[in-house]
Every structure is written in C-alpha cells, then in structure tokens.
Symmetry: C2
Subunit: 214 residues, 2 copies
DNA sequence: CGACAACACGAGCGATCACTCGTATTCTCT
DNA sequence: AGAGAATACGAGTGATCGCTCGTGTTGTCG
C-alpha cells in the first residue's frame, strides 16, 4: 500500500487519517468487487461501503482503475508475505511434486477464501483494458515466482518453455478457483483435489529431448 | 435459431426478411462481443454493425441478454453439428487418451478460432447474472456431452465423480482458450500442446479404489 | 494563533446506454 | 385491392455512473 515514485502532479503528504482511509477504501472495494464483479461495481457503492462520500474517495484515488490497482498491490503484498513460507520452497534432488503442489494449492485456496475480492481482479479470462493494465504488474510478479519454482522442478527445460509452463499452471489454477471458492464444503474439497490431480498430472508428463514420443 | 414454444405474449409470425435480420443481428453481435466483450458491447453498436437501427434490433430481441441467448443457441447448433463427428467417438476397449483428446482439442480450438464471439460468452470465469442465465442451457448441454465421453473413458468411476471430472476438464479448456486464441502461430500451437499435456495428464491419473497408490 | 494543506462532504454535471415510441414502409393473406 | 401484421426508422427518454466542484472542517507546522 506504500506509494513510491509519483507522477508529475505533486501528491499530498498523507496524514494518519488519510492512510487509514485508504485502507478502508481498499477493504470496501474488495467487498464490492467480490459480490458484484469489477464492471458492475460502482465507485459510489465503494464509497458507501467505506462509509465516506463519493468525493472523498477521489481524494485518494484518481479513478476506478486506480482503486483496482491499489487493491491489487495490496494483494501483492499479502502474497509476498506468503512467499517466504510458500513459494521459497527449496526443491531437493528428488522433489515430491504431489506434496509440493499440494502444499502450495492449499495455501492458494486459503488465500482466495480469505480474500474474496482477489478473484474478481485476477481470475478473469477477459478483462477490460483498464483493469488489465492495473493488475499487470502484480500478475507479472506472480508469474516470476511461479516460474522460478517451475524451473527448479523441471531442471532440464529451456527457460522459454518453463515460462510457458508457469503461464499454463497459473491459468489452470485461475480457471478453477472460482469453481472452488463458490462450492461449499465437500464439493470444494473434491474440486480442489481434482485441480491437484490436474496440476500434478500436467507437471509430471514427459518433457524430454525432442524426438522421443512414448 | 428456430424458436419453439413461446412465452405468453404472442410472438410475431416471422417473415423471410425477419429471419434474415435475426441471422444478421447475431452475426453482428458475435463481432461486437468478440472485440469489446459482453459488458462493453452496446446494443446500438450491434445494430450499427448489422446495418439496422436500434429500434429494429428490438423488433427481434427483447433485450441485450436475449441477444446473447440467441447467439449462444446458434453456437449450440454449430456444436451439435460437430458432435456427430467429434463427440460421438466410440471408445474401444483400450482407448488412446492422447489421440482422443488431441483430436477433440484440435476441433475445439478450430471452433473457437472460427467463432471469435464464442469465448466472450462461454470462456468467462465470472459472468453477470443475465449472461449466466442466457448461456446456462447451452453450458449444460455441453457438459452432458463431455460427461458421456468421460464416462466411457473412465468406466469404473461413479457418475457424480465423472460429472465432476467433466466439469473440471471443461473448465481447464475454458481457462486456456483465451490464451490460445489470442496468441499467434507458434506460441498458440505450443500453448495448445501444453493444454493437451495437462488434459491427458489429468485424465490419466490413478482414480481407482481407495488405498491403491502405485 | 495564523496560514496552509489534507480531509471531507454531497449535490449534480456530462456522458453513456438500454430501451421506447410515434410514424412510415413493406409484406401477406384474402 | 385492402386490411392487418411485420418490418423499419431514429430521435428521444429515463436511469445509471464516473467523476467534479464549491464549500466547509480538521490536522500540521511555525
């Protein structure tokens, strides 16, 4: 939520009250995005949820896309907190793909449940241009992390191929996440288990030197 | 595009001209949905693309959601044409999952390329309520077909589990399709190959009686 | 305290969009 | 031919929404 290197128009020195407001607005935005989706969410509804006036929202965010950007940066920080424990797994000589993916998936599902607004910003297959631009940096950061992990898992694979594998793995998870988070209890567990199968199956397929087809 | 059993308000007896207009409107809707997405598509833009006035569009469709519904039914018919050749595969005693999935995938990718509006209606993870309702019948029909196929592929699996497998398989494809259709040439091929790996890997994982781990 | 900036308000502006309505033209059926 | 239905037009309506602006309040710093 910190705000580095600004653009040309001098940005205000935030007071403590203002910083609290920003947090509150992002919390409200998450709520509204979560249950109406980004397009249907109105800035007035976000302001109302935050308990402030529409004008006040624009004291802190230039427009709706900037709110989405702020929220996505917030999520990026929350993900960074996980990365120390989750993504920074040291893969040994003989990695157990199943339990590795299992542990990761469990945390990712938990994260999505804990942050219902997350999938409104990240788990969309088609995004309006403004939203896409707002979340792109965070998407890229996530991809870099997953790519690093995949590279360790598939040591012999060329970087551009492992980058593609990372893209695909992320996309598979993104596609399934709405199904999982919207299902209840047992069905959610079962769907998560299916996603686990899919990922493990995917990452375990032969990917050797060209020419070898079993 | 035929129109069965109407609701209570008596529907007009369509003339040949009207039937042609409906086709033209759906074609226009596909174009506009494809390059702006459903939410950003305006009914006036659809009318303009179809070369008619906004009022004329509403001679044939009650509202925007009905246009989406009409288009999704059109796509359903196109998919039905494929089903004779594609989905009605007789699975032998020893099915080759790889080539089966490969053949299917090839046709599905081709279908998505040939019908750019398709993914705007079907490959979204979050849909506005009206759109969801409009495409639900077609989604269900597609699910039934895939489920039938999966049941043949996984003979020992209980119906509710194979239904879930069908849901997951469809979702994996839906998630990947935008990536594939928006990539160009080689990258699209590579991504399709990755999706193929993922599906085959997924459908080939052990799913037997509990307790048996290789 | 004085002054200046940050924060806050909420009515309302301008633009957009789904959809309507009055009217005119074309088709179909007898 | 003539009547009624279907098709066609397009300016316009009502509602929504992102965002602004004038004004007032609170915090900060000397």
């Amino acid at each position: 939520m910190t705000d580095e290197h600004a653009a040309q128009p001098a940005r205000p020195r935030r007071q403590a009250r203002g910083r609290r407001r920003i947090e509150e607005i992002l919390r409200a935005a998450a709520v509204v995005f979560a249950d109406r989706g980004y397009d249907a969410a109105t800035t007035n509804a976000i302001a109302a949820e935050a308990g402030i006036s529409p004008g006040s929202l624009y004291q802190f965010f230039r427009n709706k896309d900037e709110v989405a950007k702020g929220l996505s940066e917030y999520y990026a920080e929350r993900l960074d907190e996980l990365s120390g424990t989750t993504f920074a797994v040291r893969v040994g000589a003989d990695p157990d793909v199943g339990s590795l993916v299992g542990g990761l998936l469990e945390q990712i599902v938990a994260f999505n449940r804990a942050h219902p607004g997350f999938k409104a910003l990240f788990s969309r297959t088609d995004m309006p241009a403004g939203l896409r631009a707002a979340v792109a940096p965070v998407q890229d950061a996530l991809h870099a992390r997953v790519h690093a992990l995949i590279s360790q898992l598939l040591p012999g694979v060329a970087p551009d191929e492992s980058a593609r594998v990372a893209t695909v793995a992320i996309q598979l998870v993104r596609g399934m996440m709405p199904l999982i988070t919207e299902a209840d209890g047992d069905e959610a567990e079962a769907l998560a288990a299916e996603l686990h199968r899919a990922l493990v199956g995917y990452l375990s397929t032969e990917r050797g030197r060209p020419g070898a087809a079993p």
